[in-house]
Symmetry: C2
Subunit: 593 residues, 2 copies
């Protein structure tokens, strides 16, 4: 977040005692505060709006005149919850993807870089954002990793970090405050909440499918909002319990059409409490459907009036996150972020001003954005012991013969993993996969050199018939997730990522078939979004050539260690029963005769 001019300077600029640096002329102001649309020019001083209406007194000889050409002037769009790193794009690259679509504000926990590189990593990302038109508002994660049980990370983010970093100007609250942590009294999360109270910061929630007493007790903890509702009735219950509702439409979880029913059917007077977020997005989806602009279009298509839909994408989020004094409206004192939009009924952003500068036109950046030079803090090989094929075996104390095994079963939904009981062969103290019956190996390799955890289990229904694929971008801990038909190829894949400092890789027959380097923290890259899209397609194509049948093979790997996705997960501490919040041995016992 770039600093705004000092107050006396802004006051002088507001009084036209110093000329505006830029004036936007000939636009129709979408005033989301007064809920009006009217003709008004906008005077900007530095990165800040200083006057609206007739601003002729603000125009000096050096004032840049921006012609709106009769278009609507809409505040820069506000994404209330996004794991930016999920896109595998660096902050600079993410800005190139999001800003031309009108998104200038993103609330993000930066949790992936935090677990890799700690506060220094988050600080580097926030500094990087200052050189881009994408304003990153940082939610300090309640704790990371969010895994239950806790998995191994480069840096555990806890109360000491909260004490150090909640005072950062970018910090907007405690982020992704998982319900179970609150209702079970996790001491570190409670400490973070108490620190936030002292800092007058809100606590931002994470409570999928919470209803009844689960929800009530969570709300009693002072949770301000939630973005996780699975249907509009869940939204209504959260609303009635005093929470702001943030509707999510991610690349993988499509909730807008369902959850917008909250204001269309259930509580039409409560639209002010509803805002938008995208949570997890990837280039292929954003470059196709759009981002917040797409959510506005979807809401309007569903029947929301355009002013209300625009408010949901701007001021409502800014209010929910308590940052409406700096973003969310085109008003004196706020950052000068303006989307130029022809038609509010078919919301397409044709030009973007961010921080007082025209930065994008016709869906393309209009300024050059260079990523910062990357230093050793965030780059370099992983400090882990090399993997060997023997690591990727499932040991057993059972005698040779058929054994009953719980395999993690792939379903049609990326966010649901079920159980499939299979019979495999034990031989010489290990259980063999059964590629012919689509039961492959899966492992998570601890990559920070803290231990040599690399538990291995079975995955059913993934389709892989040979080779292996692996990713080091894989929250919450960003260890290396690897799935394979061949332990040798799994080791090759893991070691390739480790020596190259991270990425995503497809290996077959001992050979690297495709490799996407993610050299920044092992999680993101400075590739342009379109290039990232091309790389992702190549990787998925290569994975499918190995037999993978899921739609997004690498996103599947990406989400596998997340222990809040039912019913099973795997992290470096083992295979996890999500409901039990504990690890277990997937080898259940000898198979019935």
């Amino acid at each position: 977040m770039t600093a705004q001019p000092p107050i006396p300077e802004l006051v002088a600029a507001g009084a036209a005692q110093v000329p505006a640096t830029a004036v936007v002329r000939g636009g129709r102001l979408v005033n989301v505060v007064s809920a009006e649309v009217y003709e008004a020019d906008v005077a900007v001083y530095g990165n800040t709006v200083v006057a609206l209406g007739d601003v002729s007194a603000h125009t000096g000889p050096d004032t840049e005149i921006v012609d709106a050409g009769g278009r609507h002037l809409v505040p820069g769009l506000f994404d209330g919850h996004q794991h930016i790193e999920c896109s595998k794009l660096s902050i600079t690259s993410a800005a190139k993807m999001l800003v031309p679509l009108g998104t200038t504000n993103v609330v993000s926990g930066l949790d992936q870089i935090l677990v890799v590189a700690g506060l220094a990593g988050a600080e580097a990302f926030l500094r990087e954002s200052q050189a881009t038109p994408l304003r990153v508002l940082w939610g300090a994660p309640c704790k990371t990793p969010y895994t239950l049980p806790t998995s191994t990370v480069g840096h555990y983010f806890g109360p000491d970090d909260h004490r150090a970093a909640q005072s950062w100007p970018e910090c907007v609250g405690v982020w992704e405050t998982v319900r179970e942590f609150v209702t079970t009294g996790d001491p570190d999360v409670l400490a973070a909440m108490e620190i936030a109270r002292q800092n007058r910061l809100p606590v931002l929630g994470c409570a999928p499918m919470a209803t009844g007493a689960d929800l009530t007790s969570y709300a009693c903890g002072g949770i301000r909002l939630d973005h996780e509702s699975y249907d509009s009735h869940e939204c209504l219950e959260k609303l009635r319990n005093g929470m702001y509702v943030v509707i999510r439409e991610s690349s993988f979880a499509h909730f807008l059409t369902e959850n917008i029913r909250l204001v269309l059917e259930h509580a039409p007077g409560a639209a002010r409490r509803v805002s938008f977020c995208t949570d997890d997005v990837v280039a292929s989806d954003v470059l196709d459907r759009g981002h917040l602009d797409n959510m506005v279009r979807m809401a309007v298509d569903a029947g929301v009036d355009p002013m209300t839909a625009v408010q949901m994408a701007t001021i409502n989020g800014a209010e929910a996150y308590r940052v409406d004094h700096i973003v969310g409206s085109i008003s004196p004192g706020r950052y000068a972020d303006i989307c130029f939009v022809e038609d509010l009924d078919d919301f397409r952003v044709s030009m973007v001003m961010a921080g007082g500068q025209v930065v994008a036109r016709d869906g393309e950046m209009a300024i050059d954005l260079e990523p910062p030079s990357r230093d050793g803090l965030l780059t370099g090989p992983f400090p882990m012991a090399p993997a060997a094929a023997g690591d990727f075996t499932v040991p057993t104390g059972l005698p040779d013969g058929p054994v009953e095994v719980l395999a993690i079963e792939v379903t049609e939904q990326i966010f649901v993993r079920k159980r499939r009981d299979v019979v495999l062969q034990a031989s010489a103290g290990r259980v063999e996969p059964d590629i012919g019956n689509d039961v492959a190996l899966v492992s998570v390799v601890e990559r920070y050199g803290k231990n040599s955890n690399r538990p291995t289990a079975f995955i059913a229904g993934f389709g892989i018939r040979s080779g292996a694929l692996a990713t080091s971008s894989a929250p919450d801990d960003n260890n290396i997730v690897v799935i394979g038909a061949s332990p040798e190829d799994m080791a090759t894949a893991v070691n390739h990522l480790a020596t190259h400092g991270g990425g995503q890789v497809v290996v077959d027959g001992g050979r690297v078939v495709e490799f996407l380097p993610l050299p920044i923290g092992g999680i993101v890259s400075d590739l342009d979004p379109a290039d990232m899209l091309a790389e992702e397609e190549k990787l998925d194509r290569a994975a499918k050539a190995l037999g993978c049948t899921v739609d997004w093979p690498f996103m599947y790997l990406f989400f596998l260690p997340i222990t809040s996705i039912p019913d099973y997960a795997i992290t470096d501490v083992g295979t996890v029963d999500v409901a039990a919040m504990d690890t277990f041995d997937p080898v259940l016992g000898p198979a019935a005769a």
Copy 2:
């Protein structure tokens, strides 16, 4: 503000793991968050709401059952801006007046006690409020006194105080941030604003009749809201500039009917940005018309739908002041303040729960409220030199004969003071009043013993024909304001107040005719509201017996030193030309022959 239970306790209570302390049964919940009215019970733990709806699981053997009898359950009402001391009631007495009407939250600067006794005075008042059902949310005044030029006070409230006290849990921001201080760059006020930024606290405005560049430049300073608009067009301009609008209906300034036109005519979609305050109220008005409840009735009468009107009196204010996480709605985690209301169309509060306890019924307190014992910090005689009749003369260097004098002219409006040029007689170096032509003496006597300022000037149209009246409750500095026909009676009145530690007095012929002691800081009393009303009537009657023709003689004295009321004021540093923000000599020169 009383502390709420620790989070783990609230979470347990929300989950019905510990029983509720009270349950409200059989009410219709006015859910101002979802903008719905529906049948729902309310479970309370300690002073906090923990569950809504079917709360039978929360009922234990010791749970108090409160029968709502089908009435509406409305959140405790929220007054966004009130100088509580203006009522001349102590916090305890003010609670007795306001709480039975449903007002449980008041944002107040406590500026009158601050200038008298500094932070210790404000702290004592906040501590006192904790023993009452009236929650005082404290706005730290931008600086006090607000007078221009600065008058003499017991304690100047400046940046050091802000650094010390903005961290108090009751502090909600910088208060009464006068436009001129911001736009002229008053360094202490700018410092207070910067401290607030670091503390993530909003800056609350004070910008009467600000429009155009004056308003724009002020808004650029980051001012969140304003309560001073004189008409609905001024409201609209502030709204369009991104500010929250707080509509004021005080005992002396009646703006609701005009300013509610903002949402009825100008910007119907912006009701969420509109809330209520009463600024300055006295018992005679509140016991007659009501308080926030009256504002709800007035808004409904004007055409606002009841839900919206209730929101304006509750959640909208809580959001504007950024305290919606603790007050403004009946939701889990918020203070359990509930107004029981039969009919939303004729909004009458028949019972009040505050902090989880039924505290008022049928307009009367249902609990005993005892004021704290008053110690020497806030009581005792004023440390000033006694006054003498000779102090209340207007000196002149002009020779004996007729002189031209600027007298402060009383108008029909208490908040407008004009100029009347009169010819008076100079004699032996002093200018004599002309009681026959209704030109009397007025003075402000510095009462803190810091100097012996007691400048004297003339007031025309007040009607006084003999005697004197004086008050030590008189913001911004609470020096002694005295008006008289007789310098001797003026001295008697002033000395009576000084030796008795403050109050309001009528003196005639050397005799005290009426005296209302205000022993707490010289500004407020522990009288019950009805008794205060009776005392005020006696004082005003006695003043009128001396000839006073204004409606509220003592309120007229009260507001005389406020230098933001056009066109003239008087403080202990002299007669003030409000527009010029400077003192002047009311003796203009020799009269034309």
